[in-house]
Subunit: 381 residues, 2 copies
């Protein structure tokens, strides 16, 4: 990734709306640097784009200031991740020309690593007590099983799922429909700040950008694409959570639904989904049974993909802090690695994605692969 290309993508993230496939195809065909040249000066006009729309994009480009966006992001602890870069989650490429031009990321972990073992838990904002309970329970249960909980940071089910994961000392990712420096909804400012400290807050929109109805809808495709599967907890007919589930289905991800009373309008959307395409799940164990079908076993059979030497220093340090055979609690690992608990959790989830460690209740332990001599890895592979 050249500096020019990164800069161009930062610029495009300000100009192009999420999920715009006409622009996506154009950027793929001419490249981001050339696309910016077309927008800001000479050059043609993308195929299949009306004059009015093109004029609108050019007007946005005129007002855009990528350097200021990057400064502003940096000040808020936000980085920009481009397709093809080390932290880019390759599964987003499944979105084709609807792929984000890049992602703004806030938090101490590798989005790529975390996304490898992640599940989306989404649902109604105005959920019932039951929905909030199930979301929190799933969030905690998935976290306890070493899975990363992805949601939209909204009130109701989303927030309960994030909180459940955090309460269990687990990993969680909030995908926002606005700038990641700008917690939305404002009532979740503290929650989103906490997620940014212990987990990840990501989004397509540049710093300061506002959410809009269509941005909410299009944000859902990122949640669907990022994760191994989507669980819908409560959703009325036509709920946004169903959009996420259907996007997941189209992308070949697992779609799951938590049942509720047939008399509850907030379960009606989930039940509709369960009648069509989704698998009924009652708890985190059933979710993992499904989404883990391949993933749970793969590291067992293949051994870690990365040799220890290629790990980033932070992860290497935490890995070295684990005892040879015992299960160790996070705080002990953090102490041994001379780092914070949050930092240790972030690294442990990355190491988990790579097959080096596994979670046991509140503690972590090296996997058999991680403790086996290197020679064995090669043989097994």
């Amino acid at each position: 990734m050249t500096r020019d290309e990164r800069g161009a993508r930062v610029m495009l993230s300000r100009v192009v709306e999420p999920g715009d496939e006409v622009c996506g195809r154009w950027i793929r065909e001419v490249g981001p640097v050339e696309a910016v040249r077309w927008l800001t000066g000479g050059g043609g006009q993308p195929r299949g784009m009306t004059d009015a729309r093109w004029a609108g994009l050019r007007a946005r480009a005129e007002r855009a200031d990528p350097d200021r966006d990057l400064d502003r992001a940096r000040a808020a602890g936000v980085r920009y991740v481009c397709p093809g870069e080390a932290e880019w989650p390759a599964q987003l490429d499944d979105l084709g020309d609807g792929r984000p031009v890049g992602l703004w990321v806030r938090g101490p972990s590798s989005l790529r690593m975390w996304a490898l073992r992640s599940v989306a838990v989404v649902g109604a904002r105005a959920c019932t007590e039951y929905g909030a309970h199930m979301a929190a329970d799933l969030g905690a249960g998935l976290a306890e099983r070493g899975w990363v909980v992805v949601s939209g940071g909204a009130y109701g089910v989303d927030g309960a799922a994030h909180r459940g994961a955090l309460a269990a000392g687990g990993a969680t990712v909030a995908v926002l429909a606005c700038g990641v420096d700008r917690p939305y909804p404002s009532g979740h400012a503290r929650l989103i700040t906490r997620i940014a400290e212990q987990g990840l807050v990501v989004g397509e929109l540049p710093p300061g950008a506002h959410p809009t109805p269509s941005r909410f809808v299009l944000r859902n495709r990122v949640i669907a694409a990022l994760t191994r599967g989507t669980v819908v907890v409560e959703a009325a007919y036509r709920s946004g959570a169903l959009v996420t589930a259907r996007a997941a289905r189209r992308l070949g991800r697992f779609t799951m639904g938590v049942p509720g009373p047939a008399t509850s309008s907030l379960s009606a959307g989930v039940h509709e989904l369960l009648r069509q395409e989704a698998v009924l799940v009652s708890d985190a164990a059933e979710v993992v049974e499904l989404v883990g079908e391949i993933g749970e076993l793969a590291p067992e059979r293949r051994g870690p993909v990365l040799p220890r030497d290629l790990l980033a220093p932070g992860a290497r340090c935490v890995l070295d802090a684990l005892p040879a055979r015992r299960v160790a609690p996070v705080d002990a690992i953090a102490r041994a690695a001379a780092t914070s608990t949050d930092e240790a959790i972030a690294r442990l989830y990355e190491l988990r994605a790579l097959g080096f460690v596994e979670r046991h209740g509140d503690g972590w332990k090296l996997t058999r692969q991680a403790t086996a001599p290197v020679r064995d890895h090669r043989e097994v592979r």
Copy 2:
């Protein structure tokens, strides 16, 4: 059906336990009359049967008194229906050698006709308020749509389903695991008596026979075989209702489940079923959408199967009492046919199964086929 064969089957219903496939094969091979001869006098011993078991059956046969059973049945308003007879529901033959040797039937309607458009609604005895509500709602909704509600007469879901159908002025069948002259459970004596008056009470066991755990389990196969599909409303793991649903599945019937909170142990069995093989249903409309896939349309396309002239006089009389085009309430139809409301309902459901009438809310109406000239029927057929 000869008198000898009927008598032999009455005798066998006292001797052979429900669902005994070894005996079923034997009876099929030698015929019921010969089977009784073996039991009561000379003759061989059925293939695959131990001496001890054979001695047990012969001891039962010694104590059996078919004439007394028939007298007792007659006194209680109970008739005996044998395979191949006019009232025998042919779909029970799908049970193969596990087919009942005959059925004891109490009530004013034709079991064969009613079973043609019937759905089983079964579930936990110790159901929740929610389960009782859903069962009653399904019972009423199915009845309103002209479907016959079949269940086991038990406390909880079964009773609520029967009551829902009765409250909607609909048709319902209780399949008991004991003699049909002997309401079980005793707390449902009034309900079962009411079903016998307005609907049908059926069972394999002869008058006075007690229910046993295995008879309860084997009764479920009759419910499954009799109906177009089985809906499970609430069921814990290992519930008898799941036995019915699985039997239905094996017999190629539809299996359906009503979801509930994932936190409810009384929905856990239903959810397990929904994860494996059953279709989620939230109301009667969804049940009918599924089980009616063929049945709902078939009479529309084919016209009535029977010419009017072949109808039994009672049914013919009720059919003639319907106005040419209007929807008429049951009591008006009963008055015009000079019969009781219960009798009119019984006939209307038979006529419904034959495609002559359809239900609209609280009233009934001739179908287009019933009003079309006979010539048209032939053409359509």
